[in-house]
Amino acid sequence: MSLLPNLRPGGRHGVASTETRDPIGYLVAGLSRLAQADLLDRLGLRKQAEQTVFTVTSGGFKAVTAASRQFSRRGSSKKPGVRPPGVSAPGTFDLTPTEDEQMLVDVVTEFADEVVRPAAAEANEACAAPTEVLEGSLEIGLPILGVPESLGGISEERSAMAGTLVAEALGKGDMGLAVAALAPGAVATAIGLWGSEEQQQTYLPAFTGDRGDEKVPAAALALAEPTVLFDALSPATTATRTDDGFVLDGVKSLVPRGAEAELFVVGATLDDAPVLFLIESSTPGLTVEADPSMGIRAASLTTLRLDGVRLDESAVLGDTDGTAYAECVRLSRLAWCALAVGTGQAVLDYVTPYVKEREAFGEPIAHRQSVAFMVADMATELQAMRLLTYKAAARAAAGKDFSQQVALARNLCADKAMRIGLDGVQLLGGHGFVKEHPVERWYRDLRVVGLAEGAVLV
């Protein structure tokens, strides 16, 4: 077989390299090539399939085309930025949100019900969020939720809890659209948390609307990379020191709305420690490619390639010892947990009336224990996911160490959220498998919870 390595089937089309072809295999492979050839089409032997994949796809990586604005530099890169103070830890076990949080949740819930959910199916097909969803999210103030009041934002104190509740409420509307809407806020929140005075004064006004009519930029937090067994804390993307700054090389994935983003926060390894870098999309060496995935398609996922991207010294966001980076990874996982809770609730709310109405063998299927117990477990595990997520969020907001809490929340959410998505489809049977019902979308969306890094942040 070593004589014909190029004829081996492995390494492509999801075929493992251990596979071999026998004579029939070669015959079938030949037929397949023929079937794919243009000849059939020229002869009119095949109906043209309609291509609906979004436009950045064709032709591979392209330069970031978003009309990148000029961010005029202000403030000092040596001075630390303004930091929102941590909430004081109350000490009393309590499940009641504050009045402000409740108000925020009510507003976002209404937005999720009235605007987000109705747009979800189409946005999934189009691999893009419609304007009214994005504009609505700006009106609510989602991008500046995590930005300190003194910098034009709306948070008086550390907003991880409010951010968690908002992500949950949005995730109940639609996870893909939630990611699209929350993506700019992830970058703004990161700048609020770790930015220098210069970074805060240069970039935050664009998010807070202090630049007149200029629209709030799309922006993306890019931590994930397209490798198996990816370890967020050891990115393969590298930052190399130069005389006046850094050169970055690598590929980032799961980058929401990357094609239109004007600002990126990118994770890269600098001197063996993971570090966050702020990169304007006009920087030479950045290219982006559409990366439509199994789910959260409305987030217009892309892959971002960095080829010799030169940044100056002030591009580092936060410290260079990995502290800010690790914090960022944890807060991002927290946001994914919150989204999982929201989408899990959507599944539960959808299957509950369904199993009571759907009849089999002369009675509603909900009257059968095998069905009812699936719903019971769904409700129980969902509430557990919520409690673990809230516990981590409350500690984060209070400025306490929450690394263990968020790890446990993510572990439970990754497992149970997928179970909920799986059972959501199963409870609808064949109806769950077709796009007439949203459960198949939630199934695809919930798969991301166990593997996502970056993109959202609370």
Partner: protein, 404 residues
């Protein structure tokens, strides 16, 4: 008001004390009474006296089997962390020591919880200081407790009780038994009432003690009632048969005791996981919370999953107790807590034995014992399946006639 799910600060001292008691009093005798089934753990008398003392001084914050009483009189003064939270936290610590011994604790029986839940003020005073076991299950009736056959007939100023009860925890050692009996089998569940019967009452006798898989330090008795006469004032709650109230009266006890059983499962599982984590660390397995489970060893990944499940059970338990403290109906949450704690209690204790190999399987360690003790916690006070039924009926809004 703001969301905060760490252990209540107020009870940290209490939980710390309970942990010390569990470590220094229960653990040293844990294996002894597992082997010497049916032998009375005399050490507990001293401990019980100490617990009574703490209760009198107020230092125990009302924790214990009777801590489940819902005080309706208290004025609403913001969010409360009260006796229910104190109880689940301290019982979890005690069960980290030993579930069987906790269940044998004088004056801390499930019957005490029943009295605290249902008794009126006069009864509460009269039964103060008793040690009450709980008799519900019958040879032909387990989970289907609405179907019990033990009868209670009013004759003058006394009720006459007849029937056989099994699986009565502390049935031999307790000085009182709270027994469920029906006033009229024709009238169904609303006719089921609970009665307090003092030991030594003619007509009630302990027939035998069970030999069990786990919680062997705790005695589990079969009790026979033959024309056993009790004063009519010993009926807990209202003697009226109110079909509208249905089963609610007697069942209210369960809303209160299920979080307690959840806390037992949480305590037992915590014990197993604490020891396993240390044994694994000695073998070079350390969990990294920041790295995904799939990048770590299978053992570390399993520990991560167990910790997540345990934390889930623990928070569901705290939630149910917090709701009770704040007078919110918690039947759904109590069942969620018990369902989750029951199943992860088994998974964790059994997985810990597996991870630790023959070290875990041998009687030289307590891991195998915890894996036996934990099983009952997914059975008594409502099996896993009964909890799922309750949760499903609540979530789906179905009656017991629709979802059987």
């Amino acid at each position: 008001m703001s969301i905060w799910l760490d252990d209540p600060k107020k009870f940290r001292t209490l939980a710390g004390q309970a942990h010390q008691v569990a470590m220094n009093m229960l653990r040293p005798i844990s294996r002894t009474y597992d082997r010497a089934e049916h032998e009375y753990p005399k050490e507990l008398d001293m401990l019980a006296a100490m617990i009574d003392g703490l209760a009198e001084s107020g230092a125990s914050e009302g924790a214990g089997a009777a801590g489940v009483r819902r005080d309706e009189s208290e004025a609403d003064a913001g969010v409360k962390n009260g006796a229910n939270l104190a109880s689940v936290m301290s019982i979890a610590e005690m069960c980290w020591g030993d579930v069987g011994l906790l269940l044998s604790m004088p004056r801390q029986g499930l019957g005490n919880s029943a009295i605290a839940s249902v008794a009126d003020d006069e009864q509460l005073k009269r039964f103060e200081g008793v040690w009450a076991g709980m008799a519900i299950t019958e040879p032909g009736t387990g989970s289907d407790s609405a179907n019990i056959t033990t009868t209670s007939v009013l004759d003058g100023d006394e009720y006459v009780i007849n029937g056989e009860k099994i699986y009565v925890t502390s049935g031999d050692r307790a000085d009182h038994i709270v027994v469920w009996a029906t006033l009229d089998r024709e009238l169904g569940r609303s006719a089921i009432k609970s009665f307090v019967v003092a030991k030594g009452t003619p007509g009630m006798r302990v027939d035998r003690l069970e030999h069990k898989l786990g919680i062997r330090a705790s005695d589990t008795a079969t009790i026979i009632f033959e024309n056993c006469r009790v004063p009519k004032e010993n009926l807990l709650g209202s003697p009226e048969i109110d079909p509208k109230q249905g089963f609610a009266g007697a069942m209210a006890t369960f809303d209160n005791t299920r979080p307690l059983v959840a806390s037992m499962a949480v305590g037992c599982a915590t014990a197993a996981l604490d020891l396993t984590r240390e044994l694994l660390a000695q073998a070079g397995v350390v969990v990294d919370y920041d790295r995904p489970a799939c990048l770590q060893s299978a053992a570390a990944a399993k520990v991560l999953q167990m910790e997540a499940d345990l934390e889930a059970a623990r928070l569901l338990m705290l939630q149910a107790a917090w709701m009770a403290d704040n007078r919110k109906p918690n039947s759904l949450e109590a069942s969620m807590a018990k369902a989750k704690a029951g199943r992860v209690g088994s998974d964790i204790t059994l997985s810990c034995v597996e991870l630790c190999g023959t070290v875990g399987y041998s009687e030289n360690e307590l891991l195998e014992k915890w894996a036996r003790d934990s099983k009952i916690l997914d059975i008594f006070e409502g099996t896993q399946q009964i909890q799922q039924l309750i949760i499903a009926r609540r979530v789906l809004g179905l009656s017991s006639a629709e979802l059987k």
